[in-house]
Amino acid sequence: MSEAQGQGPGLVYSRLLPELFAGYEDGEPLTVLDLGTGSSSTVAFLSRFKVRIFFADLLEHPTSLRPGDDPNPLGLQHAIARQLALPEDAMLDVVLLWDYLHYIELETIEALSAVLLPRLHRNSRGYGFGALHGRKPADANRYGIADRDHLLAQPTDQEPQYYAHSQQRLSEHFAALRIARGTLLREGRLELLFDSP
């Protein structure tokens, strides 16, 4: 755990956030997908760029994104695409996955990957969390970016099912981005930096 000391509740030091935005100078164009709720701190941080942010809280209607009896994966992909609601011209530089992948089943991860793939380019990057101890449930948090090397974690009262996918499983089922680096965070979890495969 590497929580910043004396810098306020919920503030977590991150080694990988600086790499996520490395090479992007203030004022440069940047397109970001945030798989979370609209965060004031994230908007404030990203406002230094000429940014286009898409907030898509896929956990808002989780039942619609569960694999059903329909063996056709296209149905799930269409459901995800509808909730992402990305315009046709949107190519993503940064995808903020947070811990979303651990709240969905492997079939949904694959469908999300398929939907994101055509929206990514060779230098797209992602940021999210791994699960080091699969048996340990995670605290449900909303995450935001406080500054270049700090996250903001705010507990929520949501208790969605937590799958704690191993890093190997994520690599196998989330092909749109590749895990490039991982460092230890609190609660036995990892922060993960993704890049384009």
Binding site: P29, L46, Q168
Partner: protein, 166 residues
């Protein structure tokens, strides 16, 4: 023949009814107010600042002026104003020539386009924010050739972490 009552000046209308909920930011300028009990369907346009405390379904077009959706305001409309401040509920796209502010009591479902956007803590927002309204389309389709060597390299430490993750 002459009714004295008609010669007596009528008291001015009472703007005080909305004054307490008037946002501080705009109190220095005169603003038109759509009161809490007013429902409007259609297009609103004009040449002065506007505060909406009632219900509007349609569109609001005030590109040279400030628009405030008050705490009791419920708007299902596309909004275009110089400065837009949301204290109430908005469903629709918002265009701000200078800036858009969603305050802690505000709720927005829609897309915001403005050079500056502020979400206050507690604000509810679902949609997209575009702070590069001038050329977002051209930049969105252009990949950035700015990867550093550390992130463009092969995955580092993945095997070790996989072992730890079991």
């Amino acid at each position: 023949m002459f009714d004295k009552r008609k010669e007596t000046p009528e008291p001015p209308p009472e703007p005080a009814a909305v004054a307490p909920s008037t946002p501080k930011e705009f109190t220095s300028r005169s603003s038109a107010v759509i009161g809490k009990t007013i429902n409007i369907k259609g297009t609103i346009s004009g040449d002065e600042n506007l505060i909406i405390e009632g219900t509007v379904d349609g569109s609001v077009d005030l590109p040279q002026h400030d628009l405030t959706i008050g705490e009791s305001g419920k708007v299902t409309a596309d909004l275009d104003a110089k400065v837009v401040k949301i204290d109430g509920e908005v469903t629709g796209d918002i265009s701000g020539g200078e800036k858009v502010i969603v305050s802690k009591s505000g709720s927005v479902r829609g897309n915001i386009v403005a050079p500056r956007v502020t979400l206050e803590d507690g604000a509810k927002f679902k949609g997209s924010i575009d702070m590069d309204p001038s050329d977002s389309k051209s930049t969105a389709s252009t990949p950035k050739p700015t990867l550093t060597s550390s992130t463009s390299a092969e995955p580092k430490g993945t095997k070790d972490l996989d072992k730890a993750a079991g």
